[in-house]
Amino acid sequence: MKQNMTKIIITVLVLALSVFLFQSYGVADKLSRFVTIMGNITNSLKNAKHAYEEVNFTISDDELKDVNITKLAQEFKSSIDKKKEALVLAIKAPPEIQVDEIREEEIPTHTKTQTIKAKIVKMEDLPAKFKPLKQYLHEPFKMGACQICHTSKNNKPGELVKKNISEICYECHKTRYTKKFDHKPAKDGRCMDCHDPHQSNTKKLLKAESVNTLCLKCHDRKSTFSAKAEKLFVNMDLAVKHKPIVEKSCLECHDAHTADHKSLLSLDAKMDLCLDCHDTIKEKITHAKFKHGGVNTSEKRCLECHDPHATKHVKLLKKDPVATCLKCHDKEVKSDEDGGMLMNMKKHLDENPNWHKPIKDVKKEGGCSACHDPHGSDNFSILRKSFTQNFYADLANKEFFCFKCHTEKKITKQFITTSQEHNITAFRDGEVNLHYLHVNDRKGRACRACHDEHASKYKHLIRDYTDFNGIKFPLRFKESAEGGSCAPACHKEFAYDRVNPKGIGK
């Protein structure tokens, strides 16, 4: 029994040890994985199509005889002809192609195998009119493969393979110019209008010394477009031209063949295209607190004021700086800032003969844009610098816009004593600076309380009416030889005189 017991104990111990080892080394897992892998292998061997036993393919000699190689060749050729026919049709009526399809120009390669068959014209055999050779040569011309385009059936020189020249071009230049808008010559297949088929001194085998001269051959004011198509003209006689026209080429903006936007432009001509280059303006237009409706909500956007090619006026403006603004501001216009109505500036200027200098002296001072930023600004009324809308203003903040041109001393100097200082202000009673009295004493009145910043009937741009609490009060300004008088709402009629002081402010 004892022996049996020991045997049992030993077997139990061995079993326990083996189970422990089995589990601690993960033998079971490994075994099961091995089994599945082996299973997979056998399965795949079983199901594989290229399994040896399935390969059973032989061609008899009879079968080989039936295969007509000539027929195959004919079929192949006819399919090519069909494709060609389709191409011809495509030229006549270009198929609709997705706008966003990206065009990659296929530059044809003329391998030797193609040209070997053709009859090579040697350089010295070329007609005299091609000599001397120019800088850029058309690849077939360079190789002397005249046969690609010309036939030698007749003795006529220059007889073409096909009647339609564009067909010959498209044979190799497989790109179809079929975006939304096409250049008329490209659409009509008049490739030769711009390109020389043989050689040129200009890249892309152009028929002119440069891209611009080529374009202007047609798009010049002197050319033969009908009067209706006025926008197709670029008058190069005008003094101010867009930089790309002078320094680069028309192709900076336009595509010569086809484009997705009107006027053969890659982006929308009204604004997007302009802002592609004009970064700072883009920043202003998009991020300014106060935006100009003329740019942001108008129909023609940038083109509302600017001409993209050439004009007589600065900044490529269509009209002179003031007239450009008055094109829209000749009526009451709704303001984008607060929805209020902006005054009819043209009427205001017509009615009031004394104009603020920037408006009067447009050439020197820049017109309206001397004070307003037409592209947008962080200051109200798209002013270039801060200003007040109120009747009263804290002029301790000397950042006022007016002082950009007018001296601050006008309002800071209480007494004007010496004759050298007389040019500071003429609004004084003897030595007393009446500007100081109005602006710096107690409640400061803003410049625009008395002055109209645009135009006035009176001298010194004195307003006829000042707005106070929504009521227009007349200033009743009268000028005398050495002074004047005012009788506004603020006080009764007070007179001042520079020579014989009336005692104001005492």
């Binding site: 009416y465 227009k472 009743r476 009764k492």
Partner: protein
Amino acid sequence: MISAYDFAKAFIALAIFFTGAFAEDGFMQVLTPKQNHLQTELTLNVVLEIDKKRVDIIKIMTPLEEIEIDMKSQKNTECKNIQLRLGENRVDIRAYKENVLVAQENRDVYVSSELYHQFRYPPQEYSHTYFHNKDNEKLCAKCHDMSVNEVSGVAFEDITKSNCYGCHKSINKEKYAHAPSANWLCTSCHIQSKKGVSKYLTKEPINASCFECHEENKELWGNAKYRHEPLDSGHCEKCHNPHSGPYIMFIRKDVNLICLGCHKDKHIKAQQSKNSACSGTSEGGLCIECHTPHASNQPFFLKKRFERVVK
């Protein structure tokens, strides 16, 4: 026995007497002011209907002045602006023909004022009468344009063009004038109409009209802890003349006197005080140097905390 002749004589005498009486009435008729008229302004328009054939000179006598009007024009109405004093005024209007008094009428007019204790409460018989009602305006319309010709939001370039100016010009003659008044924008305040009484009453209380322009003050004073009674009751016109006045800010009296009109006790106290700042006359010091007349967050409407004011 009363004969038919006597009866006829008596009838004729009676007729003559009555026609005579009517005739005397017919010399002159005072259309305005009414008897026992009460007002707060110191000027008054007297409107007379006169038979020009029977009267050649009109004399208007007030406690302050004597006015003579020659009957040169052919109109049978005469308007005259007269000056009054505070309290009772007897307006004596006499019509003469070749230096003979032909008609005489008297009108008692009382000018009350909140600022003087003695004129604050008028005798009972006096009552406010207003002029601009339909019946009166019909009479005036013969000569005057009685419509309002203000353009909303735009003041007159030439104030004499205002239809109000002709009769009311004297209200703006003082040195300091309130802008809406000086520019004859009368309907910015005179907008209330009471049927049969007047077309151009002001709002009651008036401060609603004042704060339309003086908005910032409304907020400033409205939020203050202590507010002066006239401000709180909305009667700005108690101290300020909304038209014009000889003192700055169109106050009705000199700055200290305006306070002492109500605060009489302070006057006596101040006079007894040794502190010259509070002597109660404009030579000593101004009340408004320490007190604000409208509203304050400090007691007694002091401008700053008491210790700081006294120093």
